[in-house]
């Protein structure tokens, strides 16, 4: 029948568009990055100099790779205890109660707040608070950015680990309880070991989120094109340097920024793939 063939063709073509889109993204990023890699070779990745002054132009990605990795990992470290206790609260201690439902929706709401609102809130509400602790003069820097990033990625880490923890078979837990284990012992000897890979995957996926976050970080990290010298020192991430400098860039600088975009793309794709692989294999 004709209608059938047209429908099948349409469905196939739309799936083909996804294929073309993905190929186009990779090709365009690579194409845009070629001038930078031609100029500096693979040294572009390891060079720590970022100097856009015309005449002595020199571009290297290392300050931003370091900034991205440091802020994201720090955010993850801050996020782990929060997400871990929230998912145990929802899936273990108060499982099925109204309180757990409310907590769950509240955490989901965190995922709905736009990135720029987080950044702005961090700038005007959190930054003065950090300054008043005396740890930092300006309030900008790696730690401020990581703190806000941690709040932003909590919902992603929480939702998956909640799901995994609630899937731990009740028989296993009951067996441990019947042997006289306390709740904490059940959690540490039964729940966590059997949900371990899922929990790890949820944190890896949250890390993948943190790596590409742009606006909140751009507002808070202080925008210095060097490897951050400490927890409260300013820096720049791969995403924030693109957001800050793409508008006024051309020629080699634009190519360098696109090359940073390509590197960011590769890093996030690898991290996400690792997370998904763990989920698929063990969960």
């Amino acid at each position: 029948m004709n209608g059938d063939r047209v429908t099948k063709a349409l469905l196939f073509i739309s799936s083909l568009i996804i294929l073309l889109l993905s190929a186009g993204i990779v090709l365009s990023l690579t194409g845009g990055a070629i001038p930078a890699f031609k100029e500096y070779g693979l040294g572009f990745i390891t060079s720590t100099v970022w100097n856009p002054t015309s005449g002595s132009e020199e571009y290297g990605a290392m300050p931003f790779i370091a900034g991205t990795v440091i802020t994201s990992v720090l955010a993850l470290i801050i996020c782990i205890p929060m997400a871990f206790s929230t998912s145990l609260f929802i899936a273990e201690y108060y499982r099925g109660t109204r309180t757990a439902g409310i907590l769950r929706s509240l955490v989901d709401l965190l995922a709905g707040i736009p990135s720029i609102v987080y950044g702005f809130w961090g700038f005007y509400a959190l930054r003065p608070l950090l300054i008043s602790t005396g740890l930092t003069d300006q309030g900008f820097g790696v730690f401020t950015a990581s703190l806000v990033l941690a709040i932003m990625i909590v919902p992603y880490a929480t939702s998956l680990s909640t799901e995994i923890i609630s899937m731990v078979p009740a028989e296993l837990k009951e067996a441990a309880f019947s042997l006289g284990a306390t709740r904490r012992e059940v959690i540490f000897s039964v729940v966590i070991p059997s949900a371990r890979s899922g929990i790890v995957a949820s944190f890896i996926l949250a890390l993948g989120r943190a790596l590409g976050e742009t606006m909140a970080v751009t507002l808070l990290i202080g925008n210095a094109n060097l490897i951050p010298k400490g927890l409260f020192a300013p820096g720049n991430t791969m995403a924030s340097v693109i957001a800050n400098q793409f508008g006024e860039a051309d020629g080699l600088k634009m190519s360098a920024l696109i090359a940073i975009g390509l590197l960011l793309f590769v890093i996030t794709a690898l991290v996400n793939a690792a997370g998904k692989l763990i989920v698929k294999r063990f969960a």
């Binding site: 993204i25 205890p81 201690y93 907590l103 702005f120 809130w121 590409g212 975009g261």
Partner: protein, 293 residues
């Protein structure tokens, strides 16, 4: 052999109790930020929200400065951002919703094929791509080659690529929940394939599909980074898709960069957050009230 059976149950119970309080405290710390953010924005943002806020374009620095120095409410509003957001989100939806639905149905119908597996993985990768990179892509494709300058179209393309994977995955996941017997019943009655799709598959899973679309919309409405690289922003109301336009999140960024307009940032952020969160809640509400699936 003598086995020592010594149970220090008191200590174990104590650590057990402490651990429980630790978990409760951790969960409380996690939700505190949402109250802080909502409270902060509501408290500082409500003053600027009036009718002019929705009907007038953004003020210029000078107007804002005079108002701020005399302690008055800053004139003007976010109308140019509202129209720009509307234009780009509409254009992105026109592209992404049909394309996403069709691809999702394709994946559902051809689950076993290797090719479908590849498309599914690509969709997952696309979903993980940071939005700023999609801004670069839209810049290379549209700004440089099609509109030869910043444009609403470029912004829409970036938003389309963001929406697509979200809609594809929600479509496939929704369809997977339809009992296969419904499909088989339709085929047994001799219903042609395409009729089965739009008379059975789509209506039956409608609320699920709507949830996916609304969630995707609430994701892209707050996006700023890709629009900075594509739509750029514009001080006036414009509906020309080949010209730069503003958007609500872009206005927040502009206001933020102008010290005179701080009050407007609070209001614009409050509005954006309330709008996005209500859309989010609405989609969850639909999801929880589903009739069939």
């Amino acid at each position: 052999m003598q086995i020592e059976l010594k149970d220090n149950i008191k200590r174990r119970n104590r650590t057990n109790g402490r651990f429980r309080y630790l978990i409760i405290a951790g969960a409380a710390v996690t939700v505190i930020p949402i109250f802080l953010i909502v409270g902060n924005l509501a408290l500082k943002g409500y003053r600027q929200i009036n009718i002019a806020f929705f009907t007038e374009p953004a003020p210029d620095t000078f107007q804002a400065m005079t108002a701020a120095s005399s302690g008055e409410i800053i004139p003007g509003g976010i109308a140019n951002g509202l129209t720009g957001s509307l234009l780009m989100v509409l254009a992105a939806s026109l592209l992404a919703i049909p394309l996403g639905l069709m691809t999702g149905i394709y994946l559902y119908e051809n689950r076993e094929k290797r090719y479908a597996g590849i498309i599914r993985s690509l969709t997952e990768i696309l979903q993980g791509v940071p939005s700023i990179i999609l801004g670069i892509i839209a810049y290379i494709w549209v700004v440089k080659n099609i509109t030869r300058g910043y444009s609403a179209l470029a912004g829409s393309v970036a938003l389309t690529i963001m929406m697509l994977p979200l809609i594809i995955r929600s479509t496939e996941e929704t369809m997977l929940m339809i009992p296969t017997t419904i499909r088989e019943a339709a085929f047994a009655l001799g219903v042609p394939y395409y009729k089965m799709i739009y008379k059975i598959l789509i209506p039956v899973s409608f609320s699920g599909l709507a949830t996916g679309v609304l969630l995707a919309l609430s994701r892209i409405l707050g996006e700023t980074a890709p629009l900075m690289l594509t739509a750029l922003g514009s001080p006036s109301i414009s509906f020309d898709i080949t010209k730069p336009v503003s958007a609500v999140p872009l206005l927040i960024w502009d206001f933020y960069n102008d010290p005179n307009m701080v009050n407007l940032v609070w209001s614009a952020s409050l509005f954006l957050m309330v709008f996005v969160l209500s859309m989010n809640l609405l989609s969850r509400r639909i999801a929880s009230k589903r009739k069939y699936i």
